[in-house]
Symmetry: C2
Subunit: 264 residues, 2 copies
């Protein structure tokens, strides 16, 4: 079981922000990554469709005998985590639940803003988790649906990204928030632009980092850390070449195996 | 055959710009519209995947005994029109070819800019058509990949849309173009914003209008005009409720039949 790969998936590039951190911290782990690029973005698809897509992906990753599956997508974590946990033979780690222990360790934050896709915000998954952790916290949330296409187009440092970020975040800033949660695995890519337009006293955390910490801790506790040579296999539901290029650019290393697979 | 419906499809809202004009001009025609909302947007999906999606849609519309199919999507028209024409038992009208007769009727335009999705621009479908029509025309083209998500989010009149449009169009304007072709069926929705930032002497035409003219002319010439009561049936591959709302808002009339169907 130790030697099994870690399964990880997202609709597109966002999941790479999680895999990049895991690759950095866990040099001997192998990964099977699935990018559902035929359906990207998930943020504005219906929960019913997202459940169909994730059911097929969980089945696919289980068939590759992974030891753990990371749902590296906040939208899927928000609307389908329970179904996925029922369907999977191996543990499922989402990117939302790891926030709980962070808030318990950092009780000073009492005015928290969450940004994410339409679906993540509508699901109120963050609101429920935060309320259950500390009912004294005031929560503000805002859907930022253009961030994903801006990032997928590589425009995260462009003037368009700055204007859009100001438009989305100005209201949140006025509420004197002390913590901003980047509730979408794409958003670490646009973090520098966000940093420039919000006051310095606001702490920014991203769900990709919290999920990474949670996975490392799980593998250590359960003595599941691998100690052999790494392999990375990537599967996508659309054209593999462009995704390979984007992956190599983002991870900063060559990736040899990117294969298209249509899940039914 | 006269009484058969007109089949029409797009990945999302864009196709409605064509259907709206047809509804207006042809009060006795019935329509079967398919919106491939599980895969929207098509603009950044691979040609191979778009061919798979459109193959299933053409089969679906043919099974509903339509008299004609309108590919109300420039991306699909650019990358898959020949395959669709081979697969369909009824005529296929794309949104790119109708430009030919417009250019023949308006030979004064010699510096033409085309804007569209990444796929449409990469395919060079417009370049080939324009060169074949009049080799004296100089063509400039620019992919505007954020316009579709901006429109799908209802932000077409927002400051974000203005900044993005300026960013995309400034270079084209510098080339002293005389005609701007909106080469994506979504773009008529953002036309007012575009108008405000380009010089008044540049004529704007949209492919939705050209395709509408072409369809009306085809039906008249082939004596296929209907004279009975209209029916509109809409099918989508994702959640029907949101699409129903968007359709009603855009068409300005109640729509009763929106049904989800998954094509295999």
């Amino acid at each position: 079981m130790k030697k099994a790969s870690i399964g990880i998936f997202d609709s597109g590039l966002g999941g790479l922000t999680v895999m990049k951190q895991l690759i950095h911290h866990l040099p001997n782990e192998s990964f099977i990554f699935f990018g559902d690029t035929a359906h990207v973005p998930y943020g504005n698809k219906s929960p019913a469709s997202i459940k169909e897509f994730t059911t097929a992906i969980i089945k696919f990753l289980n068939s590759h005998s992974v030891k753990l599956i990371i749902v590296a997508c906040n939208t899927a974590s928000a609307v389908a985590i329970k179904e996925m946990q029922r369907q999977s033979q191996v543990p499922i780690v989402g990117v939302i639940n790891p926030l709980k222990s962070y808030l318990q360790a950092n009780p000073q934050y009492l005015r928290i803003a969450v940004i994410g896709t339409q679906n993540t915000v509508k699901s109120k998954a963050y609101d429920h988790l935060i309320e259950n952790t500390n009912s004294e916290i005031t929560i503000f949330s805002k859907a930022c649906p253009l961030f994903v296409p801006i990032i997928e187009e590589g425009l995260e440092n462009h003037q368009i990204a700055k204007i859009t970020a100001k438009e989305y975040l100005n209201d949140l800033i006025k509420h004197n928030i002390d913590l901003l949660i980047l509730g979408c695995t794409h958003y670490p890519i646009i973090k520098n632009t966000i940093k420039k337009i919000i006051p310095e006293n606001i702490t920014i955390i991203d769900s990709a980092t919290l999920a990474t910490d949670s996975v490392i801790s799980y593998l250590k506790t359960n003595k599941l850390l691998n100690n052999t040579a790494r392999q990375i296999n990537i599967y996508v539901s659309d054209e593999p070449k462009q995704f390979q290029k984007q992956t190599e650019k983002y991870l900063g290393q060559p990736i040899s195996n990117v294969e298209k697979i249509i899940l039914k």
